[in-house]
Amino acid sequence: MPVPQKPGTVRSKQGSNTHSLLKAPAVKGAKVSSKKKDDEDGTETGDGDEWTQGKTLVKPPDQLDLTEEELKEEFTRILTASNPHAPQNIVRYSFKERCYKPVSSVDQLAVHFVLEGNLLHKDSDEARRQRARQGFAEEKTATETENVAENEDKPETPADGVEDAGDAEDGAGEERPDSVDVQVGKKEHKITNQFNFSERASQTFNNPQRDRSCQTEPPPRATFSDTVNQWVIYDAYVEELQKQEKSKEKQKTPKKEEDKGKKKKTVWVESQSDDITKVAKVAKIIERMVTQNTFDDIAQDFKYFEDASDEFRELEGTLLPLWKFHYDKAKHLSVTALCWNQKYKDLFAVGLGSYEFTKQGRGMLLFYSLKNSTYPEYIFHTNSGVMCLDIHKELSYLVVVGFYDGSVAVYNLKEDRPQPVYKSTAKSGKHTDPVWQVKWQNDDIDKNHNFFSVSSDGRVVSWTLVKNELLFTDIIKLSVEGAVSEGQEDMKIPDIAGGTSFDFHKEIDYLFLVGTEEGKIHKCSKSYSSQFLETYTAHSLSVDAVKWNHFHPKVFISCSSDWTVKIWDHTITSPMFTFDLNTAVSDVAWSPYSSTVFAAVTIDGKVHVFDLSINKYEAICQQAVVSKKTKLTHIEFNPVYPIIIVGDDRGYVTSLKLSPNLRTKPKEKKGQELPKGPEVEIAKLEKLLSLLRDTESPVQK
């Protein structure tokens, strides 16, 4: 038997301390020894004593002989889990601590016997396979397998059994080549480990699914049916041809119509331009409405506001600023002339130019209406600066303008063109110096419109509008001699005196006054061109304005840059009143409603209003209406409304409302003079003058 040869079995021998375990090896050892005995002395075995002896115990030779009592004696042994043979002092080198350390845990396991079995369950797959494999060789091996089985069943069978077992093992080994041959035919799949095999399956969670569907609306359809054959086609063509012929006939006639249409179109184009002007008119109205809305408070003031404080200030009045008129393109020009339209009381003309010799250039003529302060009604651009202008009293569309270059021109507002209808040229008696004032005259005997002009060249010229010509007549030549004829003939004084202003008498047609640069005022007649009726040594500087009183036929007023305003009786060579305003006076104007009221503007931006009937010495109103740096250049009273307009050297025109004190008498005094009229006004001024005359005459005497 190969079993004892294995190391495990050896160990089991060593460690067998129990009786139960000892028995089997003892039996085997007996067998081996018996075998050896057979080998050594075959005689004994040949005897066959063993078979007869039967139940005699075989003992090892070194077995202790124990008595019955000793055998029956019981020894108690305790089996522990610790191996008594296991070493307890094993040390091992620890690299970590660099020293030998005792090993605490020692393996206590001792294996005494291992036997690997070679039995198969006959129903198992392996057995079946082997049977199948051995199918053809069964007859050969049948005995052997039986032997094997016998061997295992009876271990004490003699040596041939051992050999058989070896044969069986050999047989298995021998069989392998055979089995390989078998395997060639039969493919053997790998056997799964039936003990350590488990099948596992998993599945991810499936997303829920949802059905969704839609359908587009099918394109709209229609049915169509017809039947066609040759005669239908023929008819269709014939009909079509007839139609075409008809249309051709028609085309001939429309051509004529088209011509007419073209004419109409051209007419239409013409009328279109008219339409624009129509629209412009409407737009103008709209603009005025908008302006009126925007400046509603000013309009209310213009109409209704009365300064209540005047009640308590008997001798003073104020000016209320109303609209300001300004045109962007006239920014750098100064107002050189103002004139109200006598027919349309809300319309006034503004002449723009410059008084500066070095800043001469273009000029402008604007017409503003109180109804629209934002934009001029009419705009005329001129090449030379406008110096003066006058609107005809009856024919309010005729405007005469004097220019810095010496020419005069007449504009017609009715004719919508930017050029003047009449203009003087170098040929037709143009002035050689700036024209300082122009004035319309009453029509002459031939019903021709005519006007006068005065210039620094010393000429006073009458201009007559004849058809399309501007005829001139020199009325008078201003000479210094005429003025200072007495006693100064020796001196070489230039014999021309430059005129700066003039005014025509309201009643006496031929009489007029001329102010000069020398400060003289000449009373002249249109009839006498050679000499002056009178000369007043009025001012020490040039006379800026001279104006007859609106009511009193004898009285006129003059102002000058020599700071003074003077009131004259033309029959007396000395002034009746002299007012010093402490700065150069640019313009002065009589009021149209009272013989005793006048207003003056000065270059420090102030308006001075005087009422001689209230205060003979001082202004009843002195008010700065523009900033001090701005020079006021002109002033005009509106013919009917209680407002004045003042122009300055920045191109602005300011309208101001006169407070009640400035335009009427205080009630207490007025109570007696209820009746109104020119006579009253004349009387009023006459009363003042007579007082003066009375005082003056004694002085003169």
Partner: protein, 106 residues
């Protein structure tokens, strides 16, 4: 003889006069109509003797140009009742003896 000559002349006149395409019914937009009409004319002129080929070429080019599915009928006499997609029907006469009906219905 004279009569026959006259009739011949008339016939010639007729053919000459009636050669232009005459649209009998259509609901196509202007541009499409013109294009289709021109296509029909060229096809019918090209295949004057073979209506089938003409119809095929018209159908195929219409399919290409305006998408499928177009149907074309060409003949000298026929009756029909069709369902078509609106704005996609042209029914015209051509050459004095041919009727062409083109429509789309998919």
């Amino acid at each position: 003889m004279a009569e026959t000559a006259e009739s011949k002349k008339e016939e010639a006149d007729y053919k000459r006069l009636h050669s232009f395409p005459l649209i009998r019914h259509t609901d196509m937009p202007e541009e499409m109509r013109l294009e289709t009409m021109e296509l029909c004319v060229t096809a019918c002129e090209k295949f004057a003797a073979n209506n089938e080929s003409a119809a095929r070429i018209i159908k195929e080019s219409m399919d290409k140009k305006f998408g499928s599915s177009w149907h074309v009928v060409i003949g000298e006499g026929f009756g029909f009742e069709i369902t078509h997609e609106v704005k996609n029907l042209l029914y015209m006469f051509f050459g004095g003896s041919l009727a062409v009906c083109v429509w789309k219905c998919s």
